[in-house]
């Protein structure tokens, strides 16, 4: 019964594909999988917008949307209709073709990367031998589309926003990839399914075999999530769109459905990178406890995804925006060295485990490398800086 439920989508897909003649079967199976991915994650986007607005409202001591439908949960439908029937304003000076193509160039790569995410047992669209590399390669194409949007609008604010976004994405892509490298080193494969398989099973004390429960994995996960926040332009790294500084950054000159597409692309990028974090560090679709294996694997993936989304919303409601110099200093002086040290820590772990040393010894040495370098690096960066109470001239 549990197995049936676990494989229910695979079985349904197989039975639908079986209805077609043999020649069409690969095409039908691809179309089914693509439709499922677009449908599921686009509806997750709709639900998340409500959750986000309600969560932010809760944090800021107000209600959030509560008028459309029960508890305001039909708000995305109203927003969607509004976006569709709004006039599409294109500036006269804008570069029409590039301005039209930019939202598409944002959304298409955002959806493409889902192809390599294992959503459940046997539920991955294409199992590339170099799946993680595919994810980062497609993700890199987003930078160009952001530039297209900012440049084609012929607006100073949007060009500034695009420049900020590209500078930020390039800077944080390095710690993002370097923190993922640790997992690739330990597993010895770039394939997402093999990475998930390597995290199967449980320790003797009941903890699952996830990489986040190793010292290098924990440090890598934290670094990866910080870099992912910056990569998806979310608060506190939302300088590219900082409303109070450059209005809305690279998508000022977009209205109606094109704006909705940017919004969609941004959230899709966030879900995708959270999905990659789950795959790399949080054990993919594996259950956290051996007793909970009865729950279908895809449910675990989405439970973890919702938990990460919740943290994203929480962080957005809590932290103020960084300044540009703080952003760059943080990336190059803290994240990059930490990610490099973390690679060394993963290598030490690999050889200690291979030498057959007991688990707690590997753990202690790994934790000492990570924590020691964190403390030394933090101390070193704060040296000579005086932190005193800030006084504001006009805001008090």
């Amino acid at each position: 019964m549990a197995d049936d439920l676990d494989q229910i989508f695979v079985t349904i897909s197989h039975s639908i594909v079986g209805l077609f003649p043999e020649f069409w079967q690969p095409v039908v199976s691809a179309i089914l999988a693509i439709a499922a991915i677009i449908g599921v994650f686009a509806s997750l986007f709709a639900v998340t917008t409500v959750f986000e607005r309600k969560g932010l409202g809760r944090i800021q001591n107000r209600y959030g949307p509560n008028r459309v439908g029960p508890f305001g949960f039909l708000q995305p439908a109203a927003d969607g209709i509004k976006a569709l029937i709004k006039e599409d304003v294109v500036p006269r000076a804008a570069d029409k073709v590039v301005h039209f193509l930019a939202p598409l160039a944002v959304v298409v790569p955002a959806f493409l990367v889902y192809a390599v995410l294992p959503i459940g047992r046997n539920m991955v669209l294409v199992d590339f031998d170099a799946g993680v590399l595919f994810f980062f390669a497609i993700g890199a194409a987003t930078e160009l589309s952001v530039f297209m949007a900012g440049w084609s609008s012929r607006n100073k604010y949007s060009l500034l926003g695009a420049m900020r976004a590209i500078a930020q994405m390039i800077s944080y892509e390095i710690p993002l990839i370097l923190s993922a490298v640790t997992v690739i080193m330990i597993v010895g494969s770039l394939s997402t399914t093999q990475i998930v398989n390597a995290q199967a099973g449980y320790h003797s004390i009941g903890l699952p075999n996830w990489f986040v429960f190793t010292p290098w994995g924990f440090a890598g996960f934290v670094l990866f999530m910080i870099a992912a926040t910056a990569e998806t332009n979310r608060s506190p790294f939302d300088l590219p769109e900082g409303e109070s500084e450059i209005i809305a950054g690279y998508y000022i000159e977009y209205s109606g459905f094109k704006f909705a597409l940017f919004f969609l692309g941004e959230y899709m990028g966030m879900f995708a990178i959270s999905g990659l974090a789950i795959t790399l560090f949080l054990g993919g679709w594996h259950a956290p406890l051996a007793a909970l294996e009865v729950v279908p694997s895809w449910m675990w993936f989405f439970a973890k995804l919702l938990a990460i989304i919740f943290v994203f919303i929480w962080v957005r409601g809590t932290l103020p925006r960084l300044r540009m110099d703080q952003l760059m200093n943080f990336a190059w002086k803290f994240m990059l060295p930490m990610a490099l040290i973390n690679i060394i820590s993963a290598a030490v772990w690999h050889f200690m485990v291979r030498a057959g040393l007991p688990g707690y010894q590997c753990w202690l040495v790994g934790a000492a490398i990570v924590a020691g370098s964190y403390i030394l690096l933090g101390r070193g960066l704060m040296e000579g800086k005086k932190i005193e109470k800030r006084t504001y001239r006009f805001a008090e």
């Binding site: 590399l133 390669a137 890199a140 160009l144 297209m148």
Partner: protein, 163 residues
């Protein structure tokens, strides 16, 4: 010659032609990025996943951005009104013909075109990694050193001069 290859080739060549002939430099850079992506697709179609994805990561992700930044930082925002053909077009044609000749010569001599193509080897990323770390470890280290030197040089140029 199958349909997929025909589509990839057509898109790549069209983008390359556009990159040469469009008037606005930023449009040229974007068309160039499409051509890079088309070459990556051709690699993928040949079964070279690692090379294809790396092509995408390096050329579309980094080189195209670099080109675009260079254009924006060195030119005004107004689209330039210059002729499509640059003054050195005769030299250009000569160089192109020379390169084409060398390529045709090399391909004609290649063993692939004569005998039946051998069974396509399935090359995994693991094999590439092992080759890089064992057989070609010295060249890789040298390239790493060179890139580090370039990085440090760039930082030194960008650094403010101490007064």
């Amino acid at each position: 010659m199958n349909i997929v290859f025909a589509i990839i080739a057509a898109v790549t060549i069209a983008a390359a032609v556009a990159a040469m002939s469009l008037r606005n430099l930023v449009h040229c850079a974007l068309a160039l990025a499409v051509a890079f992506a088309g070459i990556a697709a051709a690699y993928l179609q040949l079964g070279a996943q690692f090379v294809g994805f790396t092509q995408l990561l390096v050329y579309v992700g980094a080189v195209a951005i670099l080109v675009v930044f260079a254009i924006l930082l060195t030119r005004g925002s107004e689209p330039p009104q210059q002729t499509v053909l640059s003054s050195g077009w005769i030299t250009g044609i000569l160089v192109t013909i020379a390169v084409l000749g060398i390529l045709v010569f090399a391909i004609a001599k290649s063993s692939l075109i004569k005998g039946e193509a051998a069974a396509q080897p399935t090359l995994t990323v693991r094999q590439i990694g092992e080759a890089l770390m064992n057989k070609f470890v010295l060249p890789m280290e040298v390239i790493g050193l060179l890139l580090t030197a370039a990085l440090i040089g760039a930082v030194i140029i960008a650094m403010k001069e101490e007064k």
